[in-house]
């Protein structure tokens, strides 16, 4: 590629020189032809053309111009030449012929008696000019070739150098350093655009890897503690001889611990399945009214036991498209959280209404609420707010809600519950698109 470009470059120089030379020659020829035509016209207007030619020849040196007049029989009548030049055909017209000292531009004009008038201009400098043209062409060719190769090599090296930097960055990233980025040259050219796109891709990958790493870390953390407790419990139980009743108690406690570990795994699996299977989601008409009423029915005794005023406010006949079990589970988790975190004496409202934005299911409580700057974090995997650390499972429950919201095209919002009695409270709303009849 580079060699081809350099060759084209090198050929272009001499071609230009030769073309220029040819143009100059053509211009010179035209000028000499015009002079000859004027002189011939002048001679032909004289009564005695032979005398006029002789007079002209007498004052014209032969190295500057050839003048000759022949008669009808070919005999030389007048002029400054000893004879008709050999190389020149006796034909009317303008022609360049070679002579001893160089090319000669000749104009041959036919006369009425069958003779010819010759007016020619020797051009010895043409020899020099042609030689010069050749040399210049050669020189430009050489210079252009060198410049072409040099420029080609420079461009290619620059391109290769930049590709090499991309390659080396990629190699470093492959070796494990995800923070590296492809450098830009600031030229805003295709290379910088490539760098920008690669870097944007790397940013996204780094973000995803970070998320996955965080999730893995949290899974390990959340499962290690209960597993350690389980092991510890069994170890302590085996330390000394105990009564069967004590063994039974220890084993039952160990079983509860194992159950909660299995429950954590199940929650993780469910979330993974929801997030991984948006396309396979079992979409049916979900009767939100019924789901909300049924949920309220299930939780009413627990709410009363916890000293909470649970009220259900629901519009009749609310339908959405989705998986009824997942929707119920998501609402269950929200209500469960509200009841868990609201201190006795407070209230929890579970409501479902048709709004201009869609079907809005909300849970409002008079609990401690969530600070505005923490709300974004609440729905991330496993993130638990510090004040709630002593209550298990809250993080995963909300992660499941987030996954259901996402797969059902719903909108989730967290607001202050604006309770009248003390606590800031929390209002969590899920707004689902209503079921379309189509």
């Amino acid at each position: 590629m580079v060699v081809f470009a350099a060759l084209v470059f090198a050929a272009a120089g001499p071609v230009a020189v030769l073309a220029l030379g040819a143009a100059v020659e053509v211009q010179m020829d035209h000028r000499f032809d015009r002079i000859a035509r004027d002189m011939a016209g002048n001679i032909r207007s004289q009564p005695d053309m032979a005398a006029a030619v002789t007079a002209l020849a007498a004052r014209t040196p032969v190295h500057l111009r050839w003048i000759a007049l022949t008669a009808g029989d070919g005999r030389l009548v007048a002029g400054n030449l000893g004879q008709w030049p050999d190389s020149l055909p006796r034909l009317a017209g303008n022609v360049t012929v070679a002579a001893e000292l160089g090319p000669v531009r000749a104009a041959v004009i036919g006369m009425a008696d069958g003779g010819f008038l010759l007016i020619a201009t020797p051009m010895p400098e043409r020899v020099f000019l042609t030689a010069l043209e050749g040399e210049v062409a050669l020189a430009t060719s050489a210079i252009m070739l060198l410049a072409g190769v040099a420029a080609g090599v420079l461009i290619a090296r620059r391109a290769l150098h930049r590709l090499d930097r991309v390659n080396r960055t990629a190699a470093t990233i492959l070796a494990g350093d995800l923070s590296r980025r492809v450098p830009r040259d600031g030229g805003d050219d295709e290379y910088d655009q490539l760098a920008d796109n690669l870097n944007a891709m790397l940013d996204r990958i780094q973000g995803l890897v970070g998320t996955v790493r965080g999730i893995t870390h949290n899974i390990a953390h959340d499962l290690r503690s209960p597993l350690n407790r389980l092991r510890g419990r069994l170890e302590v139980a085996l330390m000394t001889e105990r009564s069967p009743a004590e063994y039974q108690q220890a084993l039952a406690a160990a079983m509860d611990q194992a159950d909660s570990i299995v429950a954590t795994f199940n929650a993780l699996l469910t979330i993974a399945r929801i997030e991984g299977g948006v396309a396979n989601l079992d979409r049916r008409a979900v009767d939100v009214t019924e789901a909300v009423e049924s949920l309220g029915d299930l939780y009413q005794p627990l709410a009363e036991e916890s000293g909470l005023d649970l009220r259900i406010e629901v519009d009749p006949g609310l339908l959405i498209a989705g998986d009824p079990h997942l929707v119920s589970q998501a609402l269950n988790n929200l209500l469960d959280n509200a009841i868990k975190y609201t201190p006795a004496g407070g209230f929890v409202r579970l409501s479902a209404h048709l709004t201009p934005q869609g079907i809005c299911v909300s849970v409002r409580d008079s609990g401690p609420g969530i600070a505005a700057d923490q709300r974004g974090k609440v729905l991330e995997h496993f993130v638990r707010l510090d004040p709630a650390r002593h209550l298990p499972g809250a993080g995963l429950g909300l992660s499941l809600v987030a996954a259901v919201v996402q797969t059902h095209g719903a909108v989730l919002s967290l607001q202050d519950g604006a309770s009248q009695d003390g606590g800031p409270g929390l209002l969590i709303s899920l707004t689902f698109p209503p079921l379309t009849s189509s």
């Binding site: 049924s294 005794p301 079990h325 119920s328």
Partner: protein, 227 residues
């Protein structure tokens, strides 16, 4: 009862079989469809526990063949595939119940018990456990001739239990049967519901009818161990 356990994982099979035996059942283990088919031909079983993922294919294929030739043996399906869709698929193939793995042994025992009992009470409109009576037409519950006022959900809960007297009823069975929930709410909602119901049924009467089966669930009436 005589149970055929079809499970390819040796350790799980061993543990489950031991649990079933210690609960008074006879157990035979088959590790694949071929072995299961041979066992079914050679013995009479009262129930079957069938794992779906077997080394020689989906356990559902075996179940379908069984049903096609008219075998009505009660079958509890076990599967790591816990999706609602797969559950429905399992029940359509002829399963009587479907449990996601891992499941507690007590849950499996309760389900086995439930599927092997004859459901001749399903259409009954009058239920009785001891001196507790339920009239489903009049929507009246009486104990010792005295009316007991129940809320609608308490009525449904009691009906579900009274249709299964003497059986262990797990929390999951109650959630599924009364509220149609197939997930674990991770809260003691069911326990609170039961304590309410128990308060109304047993507090002013003797003997108590609703019993807690520790770590498993509940039972109404004397626990029937003969199954």
């Amino acid at each position: 009862m005589h149970v055929l356990l079809i499970e390819d994982d040796a350790e799980t099979a061993e543990m489950t079989a031991q649990g079933l035996r210690e609960s008074g059942h006879r157990v035979m283990v088959a590790t694949g469809q071929v072995a299961a088919e041979q066992a079914v031909d050679a013995h009479d079983f009262d129930a079957m526990v069938l794992d779906r993922m077997l080394p020689d294919g989906d356990g559902l294929d075996f179940l379908r063949r069984l049903r096609e030739r008219g075998d009505r043996i009660p079958v509890v399906l076990l599967s790591a595939l816990g999706d609602v869709d797969q559950r429905i698929e399992g029940l359509r193939a002829g399963g009587d119940d479907y449990l996601p793995k891992p499941c507690a042994l007590a849950e499996l025992l309760a389900r086995l018990d439930a599927v092997t009992r004859r459901r001749d009470g399903a259409a009954a409109t009058f239920l009785r456990v001891g001196d507790l009576h339920m009239d489903l037409i009049a929507r009246v519950v009486q104990r010792g001739g005295q009316d007991i006022a129940l809320q609608p959900r308490e009525f449904r809960l009691l009906e579900f239990m009274m249709r299964r007297p003497g059986q262990v009823i797990t929390r999951a069975m109650l959630l599924e049967g009364v509220w149609h929930y197939r997930f674990d709410p991770q809260t003691k909602v069911i326990d609170v519901q039961l304590s309410r119901l128990r308060h109304k049924i047993d507090k002013d009467f003797s003997p108590p009818l609703i019993h807690t089966v520790r770590g498993i669930g509940y039972c109404i009436g004397a626990l029937d161990q003969t199954a």
